[in-house]
Amino acid sequence: MTTGLPISTVFFATGLALALIGLCAILTHRNVLRIVIGFTVVDTGLNIAIVATGYVRGGTAPIIDAGLSRANAVTHAVDPVPSALVVTAIVIGLSVTAMMLAFAIRLFAAKKTLSIDALTDSKW
């Protein structure tokens, strides 16, 4: 709290690092399921980074109740906009993951393998 990096910088850097790890996983692996996992890791990393940008030093959740009065809210709440955006992004991420897994099932049904190398039909 007193020394070192601010907490949101740590979260921001961690999120971007996760996104980078996920991208490397997507690019290096040939198994479709591992590629899907790579996409979800990118997704999670970027969500962490976006939420981290909304942090205000010493802030708390933007819910006005006994712990946070209406007068204090402007000075003691974190930015609610990135949180609202990330709720959206999580749902879309889940939808994309479900679609990718459905395509993986179709790939396995058609080619009897999960390797992306089997999908050469539309390769140019």
């Binding site: 910088t9 205000v56 109740d65 959206t88 679609m99 459905a102």
Partner: protein, 235 residues
């Protein structure tokens, strides 16, 4: 070898971009003007304590409606892609075992109750339709291997909730300021369970819709038994 090199190059360049981002980032000391507006106007305009729910259901309500439309599209597409053969489910893959069965009997009411609690308290505390719907769908996942849940019932619940959601939006046009304006119901006492206009109502409809759609998606993946199914004709 060439591929490894290009992957390393891409990762390195992106790491450079991310490093610049992190180096240029500094923690906020005060709220941005937009956030100040939301934090002060959510209690004033809508009487909703949870500002995030206020943004999701009221100001960005149309966007949230589009979001559930995306979820519906995904449920439909997954049904088309994965769940081709209907009605030949779990019997072949066997019983899940006594531990799972008894555990589901004990846990399922608790999970569904907790999900409903999270959905209906979205305007007062952390939670809301999306979060509670996901909890309910996780309960479905636990129950599904043995209990014969009716997927068609989920479809009906999802459709009815969707129609009511749009009707609530139209009521907002007729009785209040615009589409999905939640102020057509009385604001009530700040922080009470029945308060914040129509926000709890819309949040509940959202929760039912999300829970039903995610349950359908989970169910479709369980039906997709590719091992014993002949390969579908290539399109």
């Amino acid at each position: 070898m060439m591929r490894r090199l290009s992957v390393a190059l891409i990762a390195l360049l992106l790491a450079l971009v991310f490093w610049r981002l992190v180096a240029g980032y500094s923690e906020q000391q005060t709220l941005r003007p937009l956030a100040v507006w939301y934090v002060t106007h959510a209690p004033l305009d809508f009487g909703v304590p949870n500002v995030v729910t206020g943004i999701l259901i009221a100001w960005r309500g149309f966007d949230t409606l589009g979001e559930v439309a995306v979820l519906f599209m995904v449920a439909a597409s997954v049904s088309m892609l994965a769940g081709v053969a209907r009605g030949t489910p779990a019997a072949a893959s066997g019983s899940p075992g006594e531990i799972v069965q008894v555990g589901a009997q004990v846990l399922l009411p608790l999970i569904v109750t907790f999900g409903a609690y999270v959905i209906v308290n979205g305007h007062l505390s952390a939670g809301g339709g999306f979060q509670g719907g996901a909890i309910v769908a996780s309960g479905t996942m636990l129950a599904r291997p043995h209990a014969a849940l009716d997927v068609d019932a989920f479809g009906v619940a999802e459709s009815v909730a969707g129609v009511l959601y749009v009707l609530a939006g139209v009521l907002g046009i007729v009785l209040a300021g615009g589409f999905l304006d939640p102020r057509f119901l009385p604001r009530g006492q700040f922080g009470a369970f029945f308060s914040a206009g129509a926000i709890p109502l819309i949040s509940t409809l959202l929760g039912i819709k999300v829970g039903a759609e995610l349950s359908v998606v989970i169910d479709r993946f369980r039906l997709a038994d590719v091992a014993r199914k002949p390969a579908p004709p290539s399109p």
